[in-house]
Amino acid sequence: MWRRCAVFNSLTYRLSLLSFIVMLSMIDMPEENDMARKSLFTFDRWDFLGTRVVLGVVALGSATVGVVVPLVRMFQGKPLTWQLQTGKTDALVTDQLTAKPGAALTWPGTADVRIEDAGVGTWLASIVPGAVLAVGTVIVVVALLRLLSSVEARAPFAPAAVRSLRVVGATLLAGAVLVTVAGSLANQVVLQAAADLHGEPSTFTLDLGAVVVFAGAGLVCAALAEAFAHGIKLADDVDGLV
């Protein structure tokens, strides 16, 4: 479940950051310029509203999918479901399909697990990655909403905007590592609860792809924060310019 949550949040993070970058590059001309023309990509008040709605949905969705739903399922006594990374691989043996000559089918070690009577410890361990992701998502969304307000007020180059971008950058950097590690640890806990490894040691797996993507996005936000900080100096230089 945390993997689905991570994929959902990965897509919405990318969408939110992409829409933000497009928005910053398409800010309207000042209203006193009568020659300004609206285009399809001009960010008007409906786009600001829409962005706020999207960010709100992302935050709520992350908290709901990552924390509320699993907790409700736990208290209702429902089975714990998890997409397990076993760290094992083997030839795929099934009656449903057979490899043709020259081809080989391999099971990559991923399994959909259903534990009917999972202990509280197993449940809580499975919820931790989603909880960490939800907290990080809410922090990022709140910071982005503050930045959005600054941009909408036509005062983007302000210390508050720089702080917001730095918060987003730091959260993405730290969150990338924390969520990945929490997910891997949770995977180990569920693996121990669900499978008998027959004395074989379990393999601790880390999805570095997600770390690289989110850490990269965090670094981009930190760089943007520096650009905005420089913008503050430039805005101050032209403040009072006739």
Binding site: E32, D237, V238, G240, L241, V242
Partner: protein, 73 residues
């Protein structure tokens, strides 16, 4: 004097307007600068002036830059 310190430039726009019998509105329309910006200049709140604006002001008021801006105490 370091450039970070406050300036001592005084704008004599209101005196020149009075001497020429011109209103701020008329000047703004003539040179294509907004009344808001001219007001900023007139009320000593300007921090910088574009050369193009200075040229337009001097042309409209038939004066030199030194007539418009003086160094205060």
């Amino acid at each position: 004097m370091p450039v970070d310190e406050p300036h001592r430039i005084v704008c004599r726009l209101d005196e020149l307007l009075l001497a020429r019998g011109m209103t701020l509105t008329a000047l703004a329309e003539q040179i294509g600068v907004t009344i808001v910006n001219l007001s900023v200049l007139k009320n000593q709140r300007a921090k910088a002036v574009r050369f193009s604006t200075l040229t337009a002001l001097c042309d409209a008021l038939e004066c030199q830059p030194g007539d418009l801006f003086v160094l205060g105490d």
